[in-house]
Symmetry: C2
Subunit: 216 residues, 2 copies
């Protein structure tokens, strides 16, 4: 399939790019910085060099799937950009069956066993003011997507610990955080990329969000 | 002050344009259609002809206040445009003290005396599927604004009945719908424009929403 990845040079984006490439999809990294992208993804990486806020529908129209793996530096109060870019992409893709768009959401919107988002507990952490804007905005981003009933969207949340690492087998869930038998909620970036490509190839989650953890 | 009005040819926008002009503000109608604007606002109307979705920060930077009086035809499932344009403008005006932006919201987000939004009752009206997207989206638009803590925004909601009519004295409230002694919740477009210009000249509502009704 033709897959475009926004934020392809980030931790998630790189793994998704390589996983898509390994599966022989026609993958394009949508990036702002050509040199950085070639350094991280390979000199022969297929690029669309454009700020995501300047993307138009015609930039996206030929893709089957867009992956929004946008990220911002933590601690600089730029979390709002997650919402702004989601709103921009949602606007472009209203009333279009394709491309389908898959958003990498944070884990803060995942529910605990009292059906409360983890955001509620993490925002009480000491010093949370410095970085809470990113998880809070990503949680709100999911609410925005849920209003977008005329957009072909899917969301994927990592587990509570999201670490850069190779792919593993995975366990898939829906809106509740997943924990292994040792009480750990963790997923590797490679594992998330695998689950994401599986979802792209065999769609199961339409206008909803799913989550994954590393299998033991 | 320099005031720009998005949607200046609509029911609200026309009254706001004329009220601002009568008060000797330097007012610009931001419109898509020059001929329609000249017909409705006068051949000498000061225009910026541009689709609101294509506005950039530099288009807005010289204004003291932007009024978002955007509207869409009811019954065509275009209500989502209220959210999309709000998100676009919010993005442009992040971390800017000026221009201040004032959004004309719907009445559906106003609360009844049980603190429930009127949206909850109006969505049960027979046939509501045909038009509920507009009030529902405008209610959600207020939620989006409330997350925009780095934007200099204000919202104004009309009363439950919003009718085209001349200005009257008005009563101002906050988040609860206002009713007169006869149990009527109504505001004229001219009255809303007056209250809006009063708020522009003497700001009281920062990052919050207020409402008005016609005084008896």
């Amino acid at each position: 399939m033709k897959i475009g990845i926004i934020g392809a040079t980030g931790m998630s984006g790189q793994k998704i790019y390589h996983e898509a490439q390994a599966r022989r999809h026609e993958v394009t990294a949508i990036v702002r910085n050509r040199e950085k992208a070639q350094q991280l993804l390979g000199a022969d990486a297929h690029l669309l060099v454009k700020d995501a806020f300047n993307l138009t529908f015609s930039d996206l129209a030929d893709f089957d799937v867009i992956v929004e793996a946008f990220s911002v530096p933590i601690g600089k109060h730029l979390g709002y950009l997650h919402l702004d870019i989601a709103a921009h992409l949602v606007h472009l893709l209203r009333n279009q069956a394709t491309p389908r768009i898959i958003f990498i959401l944070g884990a803060a919107s995942l529910l605990n066993d009292q059906n409360t988002p983890f955001l509620e507990s993490i925002k009480k952490a000491p010093g949370a003011e410095a970085w809470i804007d990113t998880p809070a905005t990503q949680a709100y981003e999911l609410e925005l997507l849920r209003t977008a009933t005329n957009v072909n969207w899917t969301g994927i949340s990592p587990s509570l610990n999201y670490v850069d690492g190779p792919k593993t087998e995975y366990v898939r869930g829906e809106n509740h955080a997943l924990f292994n038998n040792a009480g750990k909620s963790e997923v590797n970036s490679g594992t998330l990329a695998t689950a994401l490509l599986d979802e792209i190839e065999q769609p199961q989650a339409k206008q909803t969000r799913f989550t994954v953890r590393n299998a033991d």
